[in-house]
Symmetry: C2
Subunit: 190 residues, 2 copies
DNA sequence: TTATTTTGATTGAACGTTCAATCAAAATAA
DNA sequence: TTATTTTGATTGAACGTTCAATCAAAATAA
């Protein structure tokens, strides 16, 4: 029961943030949308910020599982890199509700220790995944900085895909990142 | 008088968003911080969203002037590229208030047509600046995509510098972007 | 004087939180 | 079995607070 309710409320939170924006997603609207009463949020998440933290945690878990599942089928280092990149640009990651929650999340990181913690976890996981995949492809001293550059590109291109309709498509974004990876490998081999 | 007051209020907005976060920056706190009364905001900006739009516009103008000024001293195409990159990573761009306003700005773009407009303007200016600088360095068909990739890296690395203390430094960020530029040039020349 | 700027009290809506009350289901007792 | 007790999920009204917006009045400038 508890897990069902939590899932309902998290889903309703994403939907409301999508429909009315982060600022207008109130507890009463969210709970009504979930078909539940307003008091239930306090019962399961103690307060509003608990609900928002849980919602972001949920999105990070979804992304993490998508990455893990794509990594399963990857055989070569290059396939592993593309698996990581692709999982960040899957359709799931561009559902409008998801986009708005991630953007609100970043905006709240500077003032919420809980969210700052989540942010750090997410960044480290990405960095570690990329470094592991890059290790066989680059000289040791280039691995970390290239991983950081690629992680930044993932973030920056994702934001552009998400915010600018009529701008870069996920397909173009992936090709730009492939070009970055390939040129870094090419330049560093000899 | 009007310009003085507007500047005071914008500065107070940035300060309050820094000190208490975007969510808690109310009109009364902002105006008190500026040493003025609460009604004055409506007088000069018509409403709160007008004040926020003007604040973001101000930050974009500051960044634009920083870029323009750095471009003045650039002689070669490569110097022009680095001027653009450097202006995005100057100390001014990492003042905590400035960081929080930019992050809140992105979060509000999906629900505010005014801010979406500002966002598009900013993105186009960056893209155009980068393309102009890259044109002499790359084959024509590579210019646009490399500019997009570089713009994304600027954004992504800036977020990392801003949000993750103890993470990437602006200096490292710039070196990562230089490496991207150089490898793209090298790979594409023959 | 007249026009402009500024104040700050006031309004009313919206919000997050709290909590006593409800109720179906499960556990226990007879 | 049937009756009673207990649990825990859930409700929804009430509370105090905060907020953006309004506006008449005061202050200031021209």
């Amino acid at each position: 029961m508890e897990e069902i309710r939590k899932a309902q409320l998290i889903e309703a939170t994403i939907a409301m943030i999508h429909e009315e924006g982060f600022t207008n997603a109130s507890i009463s609207k969210i709970s009504k949308r979930a078909g539940l009463s307003s008091g239930i949020v306090a019962h399961y998440f103690s307060d509003k910020s608990g609900l928002l933290t849980a919602t972001q945690q949920h999105l990070m878990r979804v992304l993490g599982e998508e990455t893990k599942s794509q990594l399963l089928h990857a055989r070569t280092p290059m396939e592993r890199l593309l698996a990581i990149v692709n999982s960040n640009f899957s359709d799931d990651q561009f559902k409008p509700g998801v986009v708005n929650v991630w953007l609100a999340f970043w905006a709240l990181v500077p003032t919420s220790p809980d969210l700052a913690r989540l942010h750090r976890i997410n960044e480290r996981r990405m960095q570690s995944n990329l470094q592991h995949a890059l290790k066989p492809l680059l000289p040791a001293e280039k691995v970390a900085s290239t991983a950081t550059g690629l992680a930044a590109m993932v973030e920056g291109l994702w934001i552009r895909c998400a915010l600018t309709k009529g701008g870069v498509t996920p397909k173009q974004a992936i090709s730009i990142m492939e070009s970055y990876i390939n040129s870094q490998i090419l330049v560093n081999q000899d």
